[in-house]
């Protein structure tokens, strides 16, 4: 059984006991524990079930590479699934439940899958898609739905907060082991701005566990002194619980800081996402130990040798009383020695190498440990938990030579440098045959904008597994990074480390070498996704030769651990099956983040009110308080209608239309784009921007204009006012203001850079109110301050003045067909002006109206709307707007395109009005159908609806649409298809339904 030892545990504080819950059981741990060490201290070996076969799974590792031990953490608004217990720091009140089992962790029905394993081979899901088809819906899908997913999805809103932080450094060192600290010290001494980060809560990495000696000091002392030295440097920022998550182009680096995971009751953000720009990155990310593939290597109690050692040294926890160590390298001997020194039993070290290890083997034997060389584990014995191992010759097929009782197996298949961050942005790897690992190829580093490397790797991460070499390498890496970042490097000496000489490792990808299929079907590669040696071999036989294909086919390395333990072993098996060397197979792609980061950290502050900026006009609060039913228009929120109590939205719209036509309406038109265009060449410029002439517009007058893109398609429209000799004010649509501003600047900066024109976007300088209806003039006259008579401001003219003491620019323009003034006042006085109009307008029957009323009134008048009548494929000629296209001008944007044969084709659908015979409202977007089918077997169409409304003024449905030969077919009846499959008859009519002669607006 696993238990807490009476002594040891450098990270735990035994004076601070902590209580937590796992699956409802109350358990005790200490401050400094991880959830993993605390569970193991309570003999909670079984922590979850595997994804596919629901096999019992225990903790395998002690760090970020852990594949098995994922739990649901927290409750309610603090709930989060798939949390790794090895990287979860214990706190008082921690609440965890295990995942992927039913009904309980100990008794799981899904475990039957393990007996069906031969029917669930690699590519099982893909094969099901193919055959037999009816099985998919009735058999496979319900089965997969039942078993899919590890953790549960959170049900409540996240109770925590998150934030981003933008930071800029010369050198960022990722990894707080002895290599990272050495590199950081060198970079720091150069005067460069340095950040050094460590993903766990403790500095020093493996060296402190392994008892390395540095410059004559114990590693622990050296680490403490180095951290202190770094903290004293003003130019160095030093942080724990900060993980390098992803390296991107141009020195962009994402780092993930876990601020309150271990202090959930404290105030402040839970996670912080650091968005870093740095000149140089040093990856001192260490290495991860590999498992060995032997039968039963997934049983709880089989762990990485380094993890077994970590639990004893760091947390004072033993995994078992009797531990068998199985290895192909010297490092695992350290585990045997540590266990023995802790008073635990090590019945045997099974070393697959004929020659065994170096100095560490002598030390182990000296402690009385039996060392078996050239041997292997034939299989692990036990059900749900290790009870012993069967030993065989590594060279054989698994004939059992001996059985050893034990409750823990510590395995080591060698080490793989953590090359993830090196590789994210294109750093290449090379295969090191002697050490059986991929290591960074410094000649092919990730390169920045200047073509120079911006990532340097250091220490074990660079393939220097021995501390002495690692420190020399890290020393140089720190200096190179500092130099490349512009720091000044002074003379100095690398720290000197002493560690034992080691014999060379022997690559062991399968144990024993000639394992039978029965053993290979129980030899796990990927513990989380249940991928075994036999699955990868099957994939190879079925033709999945590319490592990327084999990965997806077998799901090897596709679990939440992203194959940190399984990738190298898997591709070695694949290489063997394909009979090719490992470098020829290559690795799969390393993608950020290094380990999963929270969705909250990615969102940062962007939630609730801050989810997205909402643009508000100066009158927004009045609208909100007066029944506005808002609709989004770009980022603006505009009132669709002002709904009164007892009214439906439709009722409100009808009321607003009738009131505006009969009395007086107010529209908040502040969102309309307003661009000032000024300069000696402004007239020439606007003649190019608009299809019609703007240079000839007299000062004081307004003209409606159309803008097209180079392809001739209608892009925006609006009223242009000439302010003075060299200044125009262009109104754009609400959604078009920023786009058209950018469009104008684009042409001025990139194409006509020698034209003397300046553009300024003054959209938000003004609150603009449309005062509309037969009583419009009366209310303005009552407010007073300037002459608003027909003579003073005729239709399509403007004037500056003052209304009610507020500076105003008054445009006589009408989008409704009524007598209408659009009045621009300074935005800061917009609300005051609005209130003034409402008060003064009371006797004239004033009512504000929303965008739907605006739409209906313009449709009754046959005015087009950008985005309704246009969709990016419509040219002005389609809308019978030829009158707004200058014949005199030599050129305008879109002119040439509009002359091309397809654009000039008389068969293009053209705009007409539509009236249903029964008075109903046509469905929006409905197509007019013609007899027969097209070449795709679809019904032939001859037109479509672009705008359709119930007109309260005319009390019937009105619509506009684009129809083949439409203007030549006035009075014809055509049929429109409805969603229910029936059709509705509509007559083609003039698009102007109301006041065709414009008598009402021109009074």
């Amino acid at each position: 059984m696993s238990t807490r030892l009476s002594s040891g545990g450098r990270l735990v504080n035994k004076d601070k006991p902590v209580e937590f819950q796992f699956n409802g059981k109350r358990l005790k741990g200490y401050e400094g524990d991880t959830l993993a060490s605390a569970l193991l201290a309570n003999d909670q070996m079984l922590v979850g079930r595997s994804f596919k076969y629901h096999r019992p799974r225990g903790i395998v590792a002690s760090g970020a590479e852990e594949p098995n031990a994922l739990v649901n953490l927290g409750q309610g608004g603090k709930f989060e699934p798939n949390q790794r217990v090895t990287t979860t720091e214990l706190f008082d009140g921690l609440y965890a439940t295990s995942q992927n089992h039913w009904p309980t962790l100990e008794f799981d029905i899904g475990a039957i899958n393990t007996y069906l394993a031969r029917f669930l081979p690699a590519g099982f899901y893909y094969k099901m898609f193919m055959f037999p088809r009816p099985f998919w819906k009735h058999v496979y899908e319900p089965f997969i739905r039942q078993s899919a997913g590890l953790g549960k999805a959170p049900k409540d809103r996240d109770a925590d907060t998150y934030e981003h932080f933008y930071a800029f450094y010369d050198v960022v060192v990722i990894g707080g082991g002895i290599a990272g600290l050495t590199a950081a010290l060198e970079a720091g001494k150069s005067g460069a701005r340095v950040l050094v980060m460590e993903q766990t809560a403790a500095w020093g990495g493996r060296a402190v566990v392994d008892g390395v000696e540095i410059d004559g000091q114990a590693a622990e002392e050296w680490v403490a002194a180095s951290v202190e030295a770094l903290q004293a440097m003003e130019n160095v920022e030093i942080r724990t619980r900060l993980m390098g998550a992803g390296v991107y182009d141009h020195g962009y680096l994402l780092a993930y800081e876990r601020l309150r995971d271990h202090l959930p009751e404290e105030k402040g953000p839970r996670h912080r996402l650091w968005r870093i720009r740095t000149k140089q990155i040093v990856t001192a990310t260490g290495a991860i130990e590999r498992p060995i593939s032997f039968a039963g290597n997934d049983l709880p109690g089989v762990m990485l040798a380094s993890a077994v050692r970590d639990y004893v040294v760091n947390w004072g926890v033993s995994i078992g009383d009797r531990t068998v160590v199985v290895t192909n390298n010297d490092d695992a001997y350290r585990t045997a020695i540590v266990l023995k020194e802790a008073g635990l039993d090590v019945p045997a070290i099974i070393d697959a190498r004929q020659g065994g290890a170096g100095a560490l083997m002598d030390e182990a034997r000296g402690l009385g440990i039996r060392v078996e060389t050239g041997k292997a584990i034939a299989k692990v014995k036990g059900k749900g938990r290790v009870t012993g191992v069967a030993i065989c010759a590594q060279a054989g097929q698994g004939g059992v030579l001996d059985e050893i009782a034990c409750d823990c197996v510590a395995m080591s298949g060698g080490w793989s440098p953590v090359v993830h961050l090196w590789s994210h942005c294109g750093g290449k790897l090379k295969w090191d045959d002697a050490q059986a690992m991929f290591r960074p190829d410094p000649a092919k580093a990730p390169k920045g904008a200047s073509g120079e490397a911006f990532v340097i790797t250091a220490g074990i991460a660079n393939g220097h597994l021995r501390s002495a070499d690692a420190l020399v390498d890290a020393f140089e890496a720190g200096r190179s990074a500092a130099k490349a970042a512009g720091g000044k490097v002074k003379a100095g000496k690398a720290p000197v480390a002493a560690d034992a000489d080691e014999a060379t490792l022997e690559a062991i990808w399968l144990m024993p070498q000639g394992a039978s299929i029965k053993l290979r079907m129980k030899a796990w590669l990927d513990f989380q996704n249940d991928v075994k040696v036999s699955d990868v071999q099957l994939a190879a036989r079925e033709g999945f030769e590319s490592v990327e294909h084999a990965k997806r086919y077998t799901t090897l390395g596709m679990a939440t651990d992203q194959g940190k333990l399984s990738n190298i072993n898997g591709l070695a098996i694949l290489s063997d099956a394909l009979d090719q060397p490992i470098p020829q197979t290559g690795t799969t792609t390393f993608r950020p983040p290094y380990t999963p980061i929270s969705m909250g950290a990615i969102a940062g502050e962007a939630r609730d009110e801050l989810f997205q900026p909402i643009r508000r006009t100066p009158m927004y609060q009045w609208h909100e308080a007066n029944g506005a039913d808002f609709e989004p228009v770009g980022h603006w929120r505009r009132p669709y209608a002002f709904v009164r109590s007892g009214e439906s939205v439709h009722d409100a719209v009808n009321r607003e239309v009738m009131n505006t036509r009969e009395k007086l309406g107010l529209l908040d038109a502040s969102t309309l784009g307003k661009l000032i265009v000024k300069g000696p060449d402004a007239g020439k410029f606007l003649d190019m921007m608009y299809t019609n002439m703007m240079s000839t517009l007299p000062v004081g007058k307004c003209r409606y204009g159309l803008m097209c893109n180079e392809n001739g398609f209608l892009s925006d429209d609006g009223v242009v006012a000439r302010i003075n000799e060299d200044t125009w004010l262009c109104h754009t649509t609400t959604g078009g203001a920023d786009r058209i501003h950018a469009w104008m600047e684009d042409w001025l900066q990139c194409e006509w850079w020698d034209w003397k024109v300046y553009v300024a976007n003054v959209t938000e300088q003004y609150a603009q109110v449309a005062v509309v209806g037969p009583n419009a003039r009366k209310v303005l006259e009552k407010i007073g301050g300037m002459d608003v008579s027909k003579e003073a401001i005729p239709f399509m003219q403007w004037a500056d003045g003052e209304l009610g003491g507020i500076k105003a620019r008054v445009y006589r323009i009408s989008f409704s067909g009524e007598l209408s003034y659009e009045i621009a006042v300074p935005a800061s006085q917009g609300r005051a002006f609005w209130d003034m109009l409402l008060e003064a307008g009371e006797e004239f029957g004033v009512m504000p109206y929303g965008t739907e009323c605006l739409h209906i009134m313009r449709a009754e008048k046959g005015f087009i709307m950008i985005g309704d009548e246009t969709d990016g494929t419509v040219i002005p000629q389609d809308l019978n707007l030829n009158w707004a296209i200058s014949k005199k001008k030599e050129d305008y944007l879109g002119k040439r395109a509009q002359e091309r044969s397809h654009m000039a084709d008389p068969n293009r659908w053209k705009l007409v009005g539509l009236e249903t015979l029964d008075g109903s409202v046509l469905p929006d977007g409905a197509y007019a159908v013609a007899p027969g089918l097209n070449s795709n077997g679809q019904r032939n169409t001859i037109g479509r609806v672009t705008s359709t409304y119930h007109s309260p003024t005319l009390n019937k449905g009105i619509a506009m649409g684009l129809v083949h030969n439409g203007p030549d077919r006035m009075g014809d009846v055509i049929e429109f298809r409805k969603v229910d499959g029936t059709t509705v008859k509509a007559r083609i009519v003039d698009q102007v339904f109301y006041d065709k002669d414009g008598e009402k607006q021109n009074v």
């Binding site: 402040g268 502050e605 801050l610 938000e764 300074p826 800061s828």
Partner: protein
């Protein structure tokens, strides 16, 4: 009744770090040849400050000049004087190609005050806020979370922020949220 009102009407939040609506500030967009002697003297006359270098600002007692782009300045004058200042700029620059326009009401104006004011900005704007890289006299045009903004420091603990008026509420909430979650302590 028709008095001008700034977007958040003087609202304030926070204690150790204070975010407040800094009220109405006259602002004029001036576009033209920034190296022309006529423009330089017109700017000096309007604001009392010389044309600043790229990414810099001169600002004191409600008057200032900010560099916005190679052909654009933002002139800061008291709110009530903006129209008059535009008129004198136009008169002074008559005959030269330029554009002066009052944009006082198109903007929201905030102040962030407190020892960790830098942190408030560094959490929402992709700008190096380290004192070696940014300090009083400098200005940045950037974004704050999802809205366009510009900001400058008037002293070590005061940062002024301007943005479009329509997103004033968003910016105020954003700055206040960033202030409330405390310092990062990385500078």
């Amino acid at each position: 009744m028709s008095e001008a009102v700034s977007v958040m009407n003087g609202a304030e939040r926070g204690t150790s770090i204070r975010v407040r609506d800094a009220g109405l500030q006259g602002m004029i967009t001036l576009r033209g040849d920034l190296s022309a002697a006529k423009l330089k003297s017109a700017v000096k006359a309007a604001t009392g400050h010389a044309v600043p270098k790229a990414r810099e600002i001169a600002f004191a007692d409600g008057k200032g000049v900010a560099w916005m782009s190679p052909d654009e300045l933002l002139l800061l004058v008291p709110y009530g004087e903006a129209d008059a200042a535009v008129a004198s700029l136009e008169a002074a620059l008559a005959g030269t190609h330029s554009l002066a326009v009052n944009v006082s009401d198109a903007r929201a104006f905030f102040a962030v005050e407190g020892a960790s004011a830098r942190d408030v900005i560094a959490k929402i704007a992709p700008v190096d806020m380290h004192p070696d890289s940014f300090g009083p006299g400098e200005l940045r045009r950037t974004r704050m979370a999802q809205a366009a903004a510009a900001f400058w420091m008037s002293d070590a603990e005061t940062i002024h922020v301007i943005c479009f008026r329509s997103v004033g509420q968003y910016m105020f909430d954003l700055l206040a949220t960033s202030a409330e979650t405390g310092a990062v302590e990385a500078f």
